[in-house]
């Protein structure tokens, strides 16, 4: 299997659906960072068959809030001094700006170029969001 160095200090994003890794890599702006990062695609997984992973070295500061929306099954592992310090899932964000498009053709955000979409989570159990402008519901 392809080997990527063990991380002494950093973040591992795991259980990304195969094929989705690049999108998340880009969404996090990892093309433009100065610390070492690795995108590993099509890793064998007993749970998922195949999966993608992202390993980020030398930083523990990264805004991952929106990842829950893009990849509900993602797990995040924080490593410091070679040890796992924290392992967590990412819950759906309460407020999402610009990522969800409103499907209501009468909504101002589908028409106004200054209008970026804003959705707020209304029901975590059904993953339902609501347009902050027109009230249209969207299920993730």
């Amino acid at each position: 299997m392809l080997r990527v160095d063990r991380i002494e200090r950093g973040i591992v994003l795991d259980h990304i659906q195969a094929g989705n890794g690049l999108r998340i890599f880009d969404r996090l702006g990892l093309r433009d960072v100065s610390f070492p990062v690795a995108l590993i695609m099509n890793v064998r997984s007993t749970k998922m068959g195949r999966k993608d992973m992202i390993k980020i070295s030398d930083t523990l500061e990264l805004d991952l809030t929106m990842l829950g929306l893009l990849e509900p099954n993602i797990t995040v592992t924080y490593i410091d001094d070679g040890n796992v310090t924290r392992k967590e899932a990412i819950p759906l964000p309460e407020r999402v700006e610009g990522l969800i498009e409103c499907k209501n053709p009468r909504c101002i955000t589908t028409y106004e170029r200054h209008g970026i979409s804003v959705f707020t989570l209304v029901d975590r159990s059904t993953s339902e969001y609501e347009c902050a402008y027109c009230g249209e519901r969207a299920r993730m």
Binding site: N104, R106, C107, I108, T109, Y111, E112, R113, H114, G115, C131, A132, Y133, C134, G135
Partner: protein
């Protein structure tokens, strides 16, 4: 100074409603005291879709406070047609005015405009979503005639499916609690379930009853709120005419109603209330329109200078 807007009817808390209606009461009883209060202030009315009635009510309100009006004749052709965004139009107009009233066909337009406006902005209606000053008008009318906004039997009649006026009123009253709603409509135009459940969740002690019979329900109401049944809602003319005529309020039916019941209507009225009801003292719909102007005066005053409190 923090800019305040009035975008959704539930933006104000019940106690803010009370304060606003107290101010409206004082204006109603002593209009001369308020005739100069907005001298030197300019209100811009920006109507992206025509609504003469609402626009006149706002403009009359501002004029009666001694303020000035800036009417953007037809913003749809003058700026939007040239490709100007709503956000840009609002920021431009805000430089000329102390207050903006806007009506727009798009849902959520008022909220977006409010986010960009450095001066207070009032939603004069945004598509099918909200028309919050109509709700103010309705509540203030009920309070003026019945002296209370809780523990009422409220009959709502006509098009309960598409009428945003009715939806907002039900929510605002339900939030106060202890109301008995009697929803009178043909099956085709029943109140949508989502409106009913959202209203039910807002307050305690409310009951909701659905019926297709106006005659029977009428006898139990403190308020009868009549709305127009629109032809466009029906596939064929016969259905429309049959239903329309079932939900017409007549002087005969009024004999069955309580002596202190009030009949309200957001206007314009077409055929759903017969002209012979107009002389009944319980028919308050024209007074309702006047009270709408009074309550808009209170709102303008509140947004421009914090009501009576700030002026000391």
């Amino acid at each position: 100074m923090q800019t305040r807007n009035f975008i959704n009817s539930l933006d104000l808390s019940p106690s803010q409603y009370d304060r606003l209606f107290d101010l409206a009461d004082r204006i109603n009883h002593a209009p001369a005291t308020y005739a100069q209060r907005c001298q030197g202030k300019v209100m811009a009315s920006l109507f992206y879709e025509p609504s003469t009635r609402t626009r006149l009510s706002f403009e009359a309100a501002m004029l009666r406070l001694g303020g000035q009006i800036l009417t953007v004749a037809d913003p749809k052709t003058s700026s939007a047609a040239k490709g100007e965004s709503l956000a840009d139009t609002i920021r431009t107009i805000a430089g000329y005015a102390d207050l903006i009233v806007m009506r727009h066909p798009r849902e959520g337009a008022a909220q977006l405009a409010g986010e960009y406006s450095p001066v207070p902005l009032i939603n004069g209606g945004d598509g099918a979503r909200e028309h919050p000053t109509q709700t103010l008008t309705d509540l203030f009318t009920i309070r003026t005639f019945l002296g209370r906004l809780r523990g009422l039997s409220v009959g709502l009649c006509g098009d309960l499916r598409y009428g945003r006026t009715v939806h907002s009123l039900i929510r605002a009253l339900a939030r106060l609690g202890d109301q008995r709603f009697v929803l009178i409509s043909p099956d085709e135009l029943r109140l949508p379930d989502r409106v009913l459940s959202s209203a039910a969740a807002l307050g305690e002690g409310n009951t909701f009853e659905q019926t297709a019979s106006m005659d029977e329900a009428l006898t139990r109401c403190d308020v009868l709120y009549v709305t127009r049944i629109q032809k466009e809602r029906f596939f064929n003319e016969e259905d429309y005419i049959a239903l329309r005529d079932t939900y017409v309020l007549t002087a005969g039916k009024m004999q069955q109603a309580k002596p202190e019941m009030i009949v309200m209507h957001p206007l314009p009225r077409v055929t759903e209330i017969e002209a012979n009801v107009d002389d009944d003292p319980r028919a308050v719909y024209f007074e309702q329109a006047r009270l709408g102007m009074i309550v808009r005066m209170a709102l303008i005053l509140d947004l421009l200078e914090g009501g009576d409190d700030a002026a000391g």
